[in-house]
Symmetry: C2
Subunit: 168 residues, 2 copies
């Protein structure tokens, strides 16, 4: 049973788990789901709205889905989901139905079409209100070296947080 809550209720666990990996769920225009592990994300307020920002490389299957539907859900894994975090950060949704292969249960989103992963402990349902394609010339040389040795510069997706859910 999931209930709505405030950012303060889940921020600490979200940033703590971010260092290990959060699970980003998306949906394509054909209704197909995908899930991908993310280690980066920013949360706060922008353009008068509560916002969760995620970064997705164009090479990812997730990129195509979020470009199609402009929604995403960030799920905070519970303890014991380490193997799922590793798996969803290693294989591509082009070749694998990661939700089925990991035995995850996708619940229908309440406010957006991207799904909620049942075993996770917190969920941010987001609708993209702006994005930014990184310009290599505006990044530090260290960011270049450590993150973009092979290009594939992230698009930043700024999602308006429509609901935050946690276990009742």
């Amino acid at each position: 049973m999931k209930v709505e809550c405030g950012l303060d209720d889940v921020f600490e666990v979200t940033t703590h788990k971010l260092q290990q990996g959060l699970l980003l769920t998306t949906v394509g225009s054909d209704g197909g789901y995908n899930v991908m592990t993310i280690g980066w994300g920013l949360v706060g307020r922008l353009w008068r709205e509560p916002v969760f920002m995620v970064a997705v490389r164009p090479s990812r299957h997730t990129f195509q889905l979020v470009e199609e539907t402009n929604v995403f859900t960030v799920n905070v894994p519970s303890d014991g989901m380490d193997a799922t975090i590793d798996f969803c950060g290693t294989v591509s949704g082009r070749d694998h139905d990661k939700i089925a292969e990991r035995g995850l249960t996708a619940l229908a989103g309440r406010r957006v079409r991207s799904p909620i992963l049942e075993g996770c402990i917190a969920h941010f349902e987001c609708s993209v209100i702006g994005k930014s394609r990184l310009n290599p010339e505006l990044l530090s040389s260290n960011v270049h070296k450590t993150c973009y040795a092979s290009g594939d510069y992230h698009t930043l997706y700024f999602g308006r947080i429509l609901s935050i859910l946690k276990d009742a």
Copy 2:
């Protein structure tokens, strides 16, 4: 007396105060300080670093300073600083020495050259590791209408958080 702390220690007060206004301090290449009220900001992890993102319009005096020195400090005001928040969000640093006019005390930064405002209760010292100039074509029509009726599109500054300070 300011001591270093973690993000969890100050996140709740930071996001709470963000809705009223935080104080962004910057320094120019000539060593001159400025302070500006911000109502938007994102915090989390990006490019393997803890990051605070702020948004500054090119028309602002702050824009010129952060472009010159690539550092900024986000200060979380204490209760009772409402008049300072209003003042620093209304007048420009081109015409006013806001720190002097409001009787604020600027302490030297510990990790960056932008100053810490003494009466505030938390401080994020940041060094810009990337920025992004917004592309109007990638924003929602509602963001356009509510935030950019007269253009002046923000540059997003992603600051690596070098230290977080709070009162001892």
